[in-house]
């Protein structure tokens, strides 16, 4: 082991590795920051480039694109409330309020530090516990995934917005929209109303852009303020960097979210999105002043950002130990490994140990590089938001259209606009839109995992879920307990009082 590590470190003593990682990080960050351009797309486009490089350059380059992209998605989430990726939806709770208070730069920097710390700690935990995590991953089958998703949905609905009930309604609308299109088991089209564009389901990107960008733009036009930043804010104070004492207060939150994220990273497919929300709700619960969450709380940035990045470590485990990618991003990484003649699987650590450890260490070092690069690159983003709305709103609107068209067809524009107008109405009725989109994303895994579980249960569902699969049973019961608790709290406090779940 030590000899292998020594060889790995030798492999890392080359400056060009860091050059390629930096290039990947910067490209990833800009792509992630554009609504509609996804990290997955960027990685798929850049994959051939990595084929031409040797593995010690090509794979860290792709990992750089990935890490940069995940963070890049948080930039528009914080500044204008448009999540660049699904993982940054929870960041839209506290990001835009902070921006309006002139603390946009502080929020961007908090997101950066929380992301990097969450990622590094989870990578180290993963490296140390890879054998154990590999075993746990095999224990999480369809019934466990189903139970964890249901538990997360209950949690997500309960923390968002002013009323858990409205959150739950939004989540259910989302799940319903997610069922439109081709059914996940038998592949029959349903609820498409004969519209050809809906046969493959409602596409995610136009929906996310419509739901988050359109109401934001309409509201910006509606309010007559000249700038996104409140006029009451002293302009000389806006754009200030994050101070140490502000960061120090969030360290506990970051560590908590890291543990949560690393745990959820073992659940295939739904990791980042769910982790961010659970990290957020745990931070809100643990906080001494939960009422400030959603109104511009730096802890509310740190929590989801640390949690969604902490997912990264464990998602690499099924790829490396089984050769089976857990999500699209690791699937592309598998492509890069295989094209270089590295076949991830049970024996890769024996056959190619030095190279694999070197790549993993490079992934950790990428974070440190990223702190420096992103810190330098953040300023212009934070500055841009100070421009008058008259310039910003058209740019955002144009980006929303370009982003939708860049990966889709003309029918996607229609979907975006319909979603946007509906979202605007829902927002006026004080519905929170984040549970809607989460419900939409999770609808397919809910259906697939439930169908699979029922087949495994062979007709005896209760025994299967609650006795044969103790992990699934734990999460289902915890979800029920949480709901009962919420209802209890709601009825004990008089209506009208702020409800804190």
């Amino acid at each position: 082991m030590l000899a292998t590590l020594g060889q790995s470190i030798e492999l890392l003593l080359r400056w060009d590795i860091y050059l390629y990682i930096s290039a990947g990080l910067i490209v990833g960050m800009f792509v992630g920051a554009m609504p509609g351009l996804t990290t997955i797309l960027a990685m798929a486009v850049l994959l051939p480039i990595s084929f031409k490089l040797e593995p010690m350059l090509g794979i860290p380059f792709l990992i750089g694109v990935y890490k940069g992209g995940i963070y890049g998605g948080s930039i528009p989430a914080i500044l204008v409330g448009i999540p660049g990726t699904g993982a940054s939806i929870a960041t839209t709770f506290d990001g835009p309020p902070l921006t309006r208070q002139g603390k946009g730069r502080k929020a961007l920097e908090m997101a950066l530090f929380a992301s990097v710390i969450g990622d590094v700690l989870s990578d180290i935990l993963t490296l140390l516990l890879i054998g154990l995590i590999a075993r746990i991953i095999l224990l999480i089958g369809p019934p466990e995934v189903f139970a964890i998703i249901i538990f997360s949905l209950i949690l997500i609905a309960s923390v968002s917005g002013e009323s858990g009930l409205k959150g739950a309604i939004a989540a259910c609308i989302g799940v319903g929209l997610g069922f439109v299109g081709t059914e996940s088991v038998d592949g029959e089209a349903r609820m498409t109303f004969g519209i050809a564009a809906l046969v493959g389901g409602i596409p995610l990107i136009p929906l996310v852009i419509g739901i988050f960008a359109m109401p934001e733009v309409l509201e910006a036009v509606e309010s007559r303020a000249k700038s996104f930043i409140n006029e009451a804010v002293d302009p000389s104070k806006s754009g200030e960097p994050l101070r140490w004492h502000e960061f120090k207060r969030s360290i506990r939150t970051i560590l908590r979210s890291t543990v949560i994220g690393t745990g959820i990273g073992m659940v295939p497919g739904v990791g980042q999105v769910v982790a961010a929300f659970i990290g957020y709700s745990a931070a809100k619960r643990a906080s001494k002043h939960p009422e400030t969450f959603g109104k511009g709380e730096l802890d509310g940035i740190a929590a989801p950002e640390a949690a969604n990045n902490a997912v990264n470590g464990p998602t690499l485990v099924p790829l490396l130990t089984l050769g089976i990618p857990g999500d699209n991003i690791t699937a592309i990484l598998l492509g890069a490994f295989v094209a270089h003649g590295l076949r991830p699987g049970p024996q890769i650590f024996n056959e190619q140990g030095a190279l694999i450890y070197a790549i993993l260490i490079a992934a950790v070092l990428a974070n440190i590089l990223f702190v420096v690069l992103a810190y330098l690159l953040l300023k212009p983003f934070a500055k841009a938001i100070q421009l008058p709305k008259a310039y910003l709103v058209p740019v955002i609107l144009a980006l929303a259209f370009v982003g939708t068209l860049s990966t889709g067809s003309a029918s996607d524009l229609g979907i975006m606009m319909v979603a946007g107008i509906c979202a605007y109405i829902l927002k006026k009725l004080r519905y929170d839109l984040a549970p809607l989109i989460i419900g939409f994303i999770l609808a397919e895994p809910i259906e697939l995992r439930l169908s699979q579980s029922i087949l495994y249960a062979r007709g005896d569902n209760l025994t299967f879920f609650f006795i044969e699969r103790p992990i699934a049973s734990f999460f289902l019961l915890a979800g029920i307990a949480w709901m009962v608790g919420m209802i209890y709290v709601r009825y004990r406090r008089r209506p009208g009082e702020a409800m804190v779940p």
């Binding site: 299109g181 050809a196 699937a331």
Partner: protein, 323 residues
């Protein structure tokens, strides 16, 4: 001034009226390859190696566009309805092309919507069980399943997918009652076997290799009648025909197709480009790296083969669909 204006008008008119002589040479802009499957799968992987070499041969960029969803029908419909100018082609497999469209309502006629450009290669799926099951051969498995009806879990890659057909053929031919579990693709189906949730599945040799070497898998039989003679690990695995189940027969063809209305000269050019691709050492090196073989078939050959297969699939659907 006036002369200048006149001259420029004449120049413009000439430019507009000039026959597109320089443009006649196909291709004069980038070609899009639609893949009706998700990122990182085996088609995506193949395409990443093929498109750069193809770009060199055709002298234009060849861009991959992933359009998964709708059991492969979303991307397939998109290409079937695309302008047949040769700039939009599809990289798919025979289940999506010849089987799935016959099982549901689609907006194109699968028999006439496409012309083949080339078949890259073909794989026969192999049935493998997890280590630790109380059987080591296909006959023992069937025996066990008959004694324990409904106890054996067989995973597959999705309804009418590549792993689904041989599963259903085997169950029918052997007359066994088992629990059939759907997954979304080969990776998840493999995980379920390794986790002990499923007892067996149909998958491919490249995917099985590391787990087989680690002693986690027991190969039971290969669909069809062609043993993997050149394979270092699986050369002794018997075929379903050898094992007495000639009806368990499915091959996945990886194929490039164009919408049927493509002008003959352009189709010819694309087919020639693939003939040339197949001669390139860089292409062979790439396939070796990803552990895939070459079973090249030219577009014209595959078109003839495809018509025959389509009828066979129609019979298959009737056979498998009737319970």
């Amino acid at each position: 001034m006036r002369t200048l204006r006149l001259l420029s008008a004449v120049a413009l008119a000439v430019a507009l009226m000039a026959p597109p002589a320089a443009r006649a040479e196909f291709p004069e802009r980038p070609i899009t390859v639609v893949i009706p499957l998700g990122a990182g799968g085996s088609h995506d992987l193949h395409a990443r190696g093929i498109t750069p070499i193809l770009s060199e041969i055709l002298g234009q960029p060849v861009v991959v566009s992933l359009v998964p969803g709708g059991a492969g029908m979303k991307g397939t419909t998109q290409v079937a309805k695309a302008n047949p100018d040769g700039y939009t082609i599809i990289f798919t497999h025979n289940a999506f092309d010849q089987l799935t469209p016959q099982t549901r309502k689609v907006e194109f006629d699968p028999k006439t919507a496409f012309k083949s450009i080339a078949r890259i290669n073909a794989n026969e799926p192999m049935l493998a069980a997890r280590a630790g099951v109380p059987y080591k051969t296909l006959a023992e498995m069937i025996d066990y399943a008959k004694k324990n009806p409904g106890k054996v879990n067989i995973g597959h890659t999705g309804v009418w997918g590549v792993g689904f057909v041989p599963t259903m053929q085997l169950i029918k031919a052997a007359g066994i009652k088992v629990n059939i579990i759907p997954h979304q693709g080969g990776g998840p189906a493999m995980r379920a076997v390794l986790a002990g949730e499923d007892d067996m599945t149909f998958g491919f040799a490249t995917q099985y290799r590391p787990h087989y070497k680690a002693g986690k898998l027991v190969p039971l039989g290969i669909a069809g009648d062609k043993p993997l003679k050149d394979d270092p690990d699986f050369k002794d695995v018997k075929t379903m025909t050898q094992l007495g189940f000639p009806g368990v027969d499915f091959t996945m063809d990886r194929i490039f197709m164009a919408p049927a209305g493509v002008p003959a000269d352009r189709l010819e050019k694309l087919r020639k480009a693939f003939d040339e691709l197949n001669k390139k050492p860089a292409y062979h090196a790439f396939l070796k790296n990803i552990g895939e073989k070459i079973d090249y078939m030219s577009g014209a050959e595959y078109d003839a083969y495809r018509t025959k297969r389509m009828q066979q699939f129609a019979d298959l659907i009737k056979e498998v669909g009737s319970k």
